[in-house]
Symmetry: D2
Subunit: 359 residues, 4 copies
């Protein structure tokens, strides 16, 4: 974090008390080009950050009820539907917004009532927002940055955790028009469920057990279909992945998502072709590594890294692609920072260099 008074982008966090908020604080206090000038949390005015996030007590930061003073960018970590109400005023004040929630991820306003059960109050902003997955939308993030430099604040809808792991695993296939029939079976640690006290998330309920949830109805399906469709269309492909079968599971761990993507490709595809597609997609990416053995979520814990694995099988004619991330970093706060870096013309990896923590 840049010391007070010096240069650096002035950043605020709205909704700093949840798990994503905590990760944003952890990452941004260590960011070399950021001044963290405001943290807000409901009913928490004047509370030290350490009272909410004990591991961050050393930062000496304090929560406020409202963002005070001037900020250049705000990260929003709010429940869905809440951010949509607040964004216009922030943009009007010239503040760039990185929304960690879903309110600006979808391009079709009709998808909000359908998947999130609310009418979007500002559908006019959906076209302006960038889906903040840098590996798929880097050019748009950079363009938003150029616009920002000339006075138009940027609006980024930072992707969901499941879509991040899934899209990184599937993008090279989709871009090649190979993903007509897709099953995404994902496994997540429970930090993704947030910090609210719910009996079903008690340690004694989660430990030593696994279960599926959101069968045929998880909201992240919308993002995945939108992006896979877009990628397929770019290849002139018709199919895309409308009708995606997405099934998430909660497993007894805190962090990490593994998305297993089962694809019946539109035509036979060899391992060599897959290797070439994935190498082309990711060889230059700072945060995505293609690996040749099934990756563990533990290999990326605490970092902004993703690992991707893909296999073709002659016997069944099928392809399996697997992506792993830390849901709170590359699946949330870290990805937001990565997009922020692009928008503000900073090195894309600034503040995100930490290696994974293992064991």
């Amino acid at each position: 974090m840049v010391v007070s008074g010096s240069a650096g982008v002035r950043v605020g966090i709205v909704g700093a008390t949840g798990y994503v908020g905590g990760e944003l604080i952890r990452l941004l206090t260590a960011h070399p080009a950021v001044r963290l000038v405001g943290l807000t949390g409901r009913d928490r005015h004047g509370d030290p950050v350490g009272s909410v996030h004990p591991h961050l007590s050393g930062t000496g930061l304090v929560l406020e009820s409202e963002l005070s003073g001037d900020v250049d960018a705000v990260f929003l970590a709010l429940p869905h539907g809440t951010a949509a109400e607040r964004v216009p005023e922030l943009l009007d004040r010239g503040i760039t917004v990185i929304d960690q929630g879903p309110d600006f991820r979808l391009r079709e306003a009709a998808d909000y009532p359908r998947w999130y059960a609310f009418e979007h109050p500002h559908p006019e902003l959906l076209g302006r927002a960038v889906y903040g997955l840098p590996e798929l939308h880097r050019a748009e993030l950079l363009a938003a940055g150029t616009a920002r430099a000339t006075g138009t604040p940027a609006l980024v809808g930072s992707p969901g955790c499941y879509p991040t792991a899934t899209l990184l695993a599937l993008a090279p296939l989709a871009r090649a028009g190979l993903t007509a029939d897709v099953v995404v079976d994902a496994k997540s640690g429970v930090s993704g469920a947030g910090r609210e006290a719910k009996a079903e998330m008690l340690f004694a309920e989660v430990n030593e057990s696994v279960r599926a949830y959101g069968v045929f109805s998880h909201r992240h399906t919308a993002e995945m279909e939108q992006e896979l469709d877009r990628l397929s269309a770019s290849a002139g492909g018709a199919a895309g992945a409308r009708g995606l079968d997405f099934l998430p599971h909660l497993i007894p761990m805190t962090r990490g998502i593994l998305a297993s993507c089962h694809v019946r490709p539109t035509r036979p595809v060899s391992q060599a072709e897959l290797d070439a597609l994935y190498a082309e997609a990711y060889d230059e990416e700072p945060f995505v590594t293609v690996v040749d053995a099934p990756p563990s979520t533990g290999h990326v814990l605490g970092s902004n890294h993703a690992r991707v694995f893909v296999r073709s099988d002659a016997r069944t004619g099928r392809v399996i692609a697997i992506g792993v991330i830390d849901n709170l970093v590359k699946g949330a706060a870290g990805q937001g920072v990565q997009a922020f870096n692009l928008v503000f013309g900073l090195p894309e990896t600034a503040g995100l260099e930490a290696l994974p923590l293992a064991p």
Copy 2:
């Protein structure tokens, strides 16, 4: 356990030192119609059971190097390929064999070199063996029991853990000829990997991480395809599930398997039809319950129960079926005991009445 000297089926366990062996001891000492007369474990002659399974020290049992004395039935918990060598001599002695390993699960001898990398030494026994999933092969188990009563000892190949969870979830669909295209994405606790010291199974390696393994190559695929094919054929269906896409994962828990089966049915199928198919299949089953919310493995921990859930989705035209079991009970030792009960004309639930343990 029937007290020494009284009546009761005399039972031995060969390979009593692993996790499945321990579960067999736990279940059979509490079985009302069994006398546990011999436990063997490599290099363990004279050792008390408690030195290997501390939780079972109260049984006062002792390990031997060889089964001594007369036994009516033997449970084998041995590495694959080992049981096949020993079974003929046991059958010759008139001893019924419940093999907990894979050596007598497959009907086609050619499947052994293909999936298990060994030539089966006694292919002539494969036709005689019964695949010991009582919910699918009860009549054969009872028939084997009838033959046993007249002098021909039975041979049961007790199913693998993944196939048990998967087949219970899919059988009603397969029997109706609905399962042409199947993805089975399974999650298992690590006790299934056994008790041998391997660095990759250390707590510090497994905890807080999830990974896939055996991509397109897990041996249990063979059993699943065999049985799904058989069920489909019984419906006059052509397809079956050759070309099954089976992907297992290790998750950070000790016990439990959840198999998520993603099916593109051969024709549209309504939830009502599914409900009827599953009710018909399982309403009379003592150990299988059809539930209407996604089940957790924690709901069956320590018990021989399975829970099955199925959903049809109009939007995608797909079906998801989920099965959960305790891999060491219904997925191994308990299932062996259930088959044993049928073969010996005992109540099918004898020794298996324990309720699940939660939380």
Copy 3:
């Protein structure tokens, strides 16, 4: 569970929706001499047990708002202070009460405001209640059973989980007058904290972390001091263990308590003497085993067993005694059933024979 209509003790459970309530249902439905005739849970009238305890859905039991019909005994699993209000009416109706909470564990009424912050509404019952640790109070439980048979219902205050593990570890030392200076450092799984939704008990908060709590103030201290004093006094010892230093810790597991008791004995004591004291105390006990290596809580999981270990050290002149139990069985529901068995003249182990579950 005895089938409806037959003989058997008619038992009700008040507070059947928590973890202890669930364990009581699990144990009592399998109890050979019990008819479970009523289960109550706040605001749960008419709900099937499976809606609260999914693992017990197979019991087919249903919750009520009030105990209806005649019962011989009631188990109370209620917050502290609540049971004290209800017990007199139950006793008046001739119903034996096994209170799983603390309201009838302490002999001195003054200890309630001091440790539990409430005035006991019925101090006249404290002398009548038996502290339900059968290994220490078997004679009183049997005497209460005799009185019960002649029309005076019994009142049992079932011990706390920490005191159970601690007292079993220390009783032989205390009885020999050796425990003047005692540190009890205990580690517990989090199921002991109950099933109420609290943010600090979320999986993501508990996992991969350990912490102490209740420093110098945990309420169970009162029970431990009371019983250690009583045992010491029985040996003519003056000291007892007033001034006990008890420090509990929450560790990332669901079930199990390990109490490490550090004693500076009142005089030097050899390992041989310790062995003799512990053998004398426990050789005939059905649920307590003295072991010669430090026991794991995993060795007693799911069972009513306790394991105790003791070591003397010449270098330091100190003694360490360790006790392990399953906090929900021997530390709660199982212990209640054990006391119930004694009061009703049943075999002490009835319904409690299940072996531990491992791994």
Copy 4:
């Protein structure tokens, strides 16, 4: 890590394949003043680091069989007894040694056969070695740095994990002569047991269980007694802590140590006095925070931070002091880097600024 060719201290790691080795790589590659010029691991010549530590594959580093080229400092992460053999030759070559093992922690040569069962081959070096706990031995580390700058390489015996947590918790008490009678009851994650495949460290054995080990015999007792004695002596105190009762426990988590220190002080001590002693000791320390609620190991995960808590109790006349650390960072690799920084005249926090990771 300083880029190749530039300035920076040239550092090697001997024994880079274990958990401590992995942490050293993680920390030193991010250290702004270090060039990591050599990593060795038995039988691993030419293997990429990622083949041993998959989470570190992004470093692009490769293992060697021997340190090649010039190095200024070497970290040794070797089994006890092994480092002692190798250190003289390294010192002769002018290389500063940070030994992460126990071979240079103890000042009395006689303590090695007594606690570690080997005769120290180089007792003449024990007086030269510095016990590398900067909070207690900063002046000596700086002095060793001064000597190093003039040609005498330094030798640091980096403290054990349990002693670090314990000594930080107790030092202010010991320095005040208050610690005559001490019980240290510690809880550790299992990464401290290392990465070797042992059946007792399998996930299925460790999970959902807790146990004590090393009863009255753990080797770290020697370090704790040595340092507590030294601190007490500095206060003119006679007693010290010879006869320390140290009991470690393994709990089902990967990282973290919590040491609960139970003290009967040599005289009554108020909370205010304790607060003053601890504030004086730690207010200026960059890595130690005194907290006013019992700390969790999760609050320091992945960081070099320690948290210390202390409470006096009027009723019992006792004091409880608690220390928490990440055993692989402040309890091993991080502490080694901290001492290295002092010896090389670098900022003490260089490379160690990462905040803890939670949840």
